[in-house]
Amino acid sequence: MEKAIAKSKVDKRKVSEFLLTYALYFILGIILLVVIIIEPKFLSLTNLINILKQASTKGILALGCAGLIVLAGTDLSLGRILGLSAAVTASIVQSVTYASRYYPQITKPVPLIVPLLVSIVIATAISAFNGFGVAKLHLHAFIVTLGTSLIAYGITCIYVENQAMGSAMALSTFDLRFTNIVNGTIKLFGVQIPYVILYFFLASFIMYIIWNKTTLGKNMFAVGGNEEAAAVSGVNVTKTIMGVYIIAGIAYGIGAFLEAARVQSVSTSTGFNYELDAISACVIGGISFSGGVGNVPGIMVGVIILQAINYSLYYLDVNAYLQFIVKGVIIILAVSIDVRKYLKRK
């Protein structure tokens, strides 16, 4: 009898432990279920493709940012870096027949590799600067990235305002080749899949290889888990941190290029709050702020779930301001669950 009572207590504890650990997934699942019950049309293929398409560019950004969170840091400049890179990309790929284009001296379509490389170089340079501040100057990532966020935003505003028209008009009317590279589709299993979704899965696969099969990836987890122990074990901490920041910069550059093509109009507000989406997707996906914990499939799930919630609230016409509050509560809840896991490990 006593044994049975003790066993049921252990079972109850196990169940509550499981529920608390995966509380966020349950809640987000319940919300989605409620939305589907209210609007059964939500479960259409078009909506699923739209969710994946919107999640794709943010997913690539989250993949870059996740490495920094694994290092027990963060990146508040992500959105503004994306804004700057996207603005420069947009100015280069404007249609040569568009009279008010940023660079009237460009009279022939530029090969698309040029804006892609420019975008990557800009994003990587700023991200490497962040990395230098964290790795060499020992500044906290919050401070460095907050600073570079403002710097990047200032440069974006100056750049966008510096148009021949003399106004801060959004950069639009792009070369069709550029927009097709993202919005074009390929038929897979009878379904039209936008290219951008394939880029996201490809980027995830590459990031999976970097994280799990390379020395840099293994060193990243070692430094994130215990920097002192990693340093004593012979890991070059500075080099590792710089490497992770540079990879993040490359991801931001690619993300900016794709986002410019996806939204088809780039203004000074492009990229606003993207860092919050990326960071919250990472935390939902199981990347711990305590460092050294996380995996790529988790990030993919986090990004898609978060986008599904955003999309469903928008689909149900829920007040836009209320959506901000919901997102904020989701982030706090995700971090609380992460803190609980940290305390349990301690």
Partner: protein, 95 residues
């Protein structure tokens, strides 16, 4: 003391010590001991310096000082708040 600063005599003493420590004279043993002590104190100071550097980097949760029970309550409250918010949002949108 780095290897570059070693004199040929130091190297000879070190090699001899490795091969047969008992063959060294008292002076040579004392010199070797002093050299080893100097090396050790240098390495200690290097480790201390790197520790001081690392101390500047703190993690986000380093200062978290609550019990798991408290966090359980926080999580439950947040879950209820989130559900109420979404329910209100949907109700508001449909009325």
């Amino acid at each position: 003391m780095t290897k570059d600063l070693q004199t040929p005599n130091d190297k000879l003493i070190e090699t001899a010590a490795k091969e047969d420590p008992a063959a060294l004279t008292l002076e040579e043993r004392e010199a070797l001991l002093k050299k080893k002590e100097a090396d050790l104190s240098k390495k200690e100071s290097e480790i201390e310096a790197s520790k001081v550097n690392l101390r500047f980097r703190y993690k986000l949760y380093d200062r978290v000082n609550v019990s798991v029970k408290t966090m359980n309550i926080v999580i439950v409250v947040l879950v209820i708040a989130l559900l109420l918010l979404v329910a209100y949002g949907i109700y508001d949108a449909r009325n």
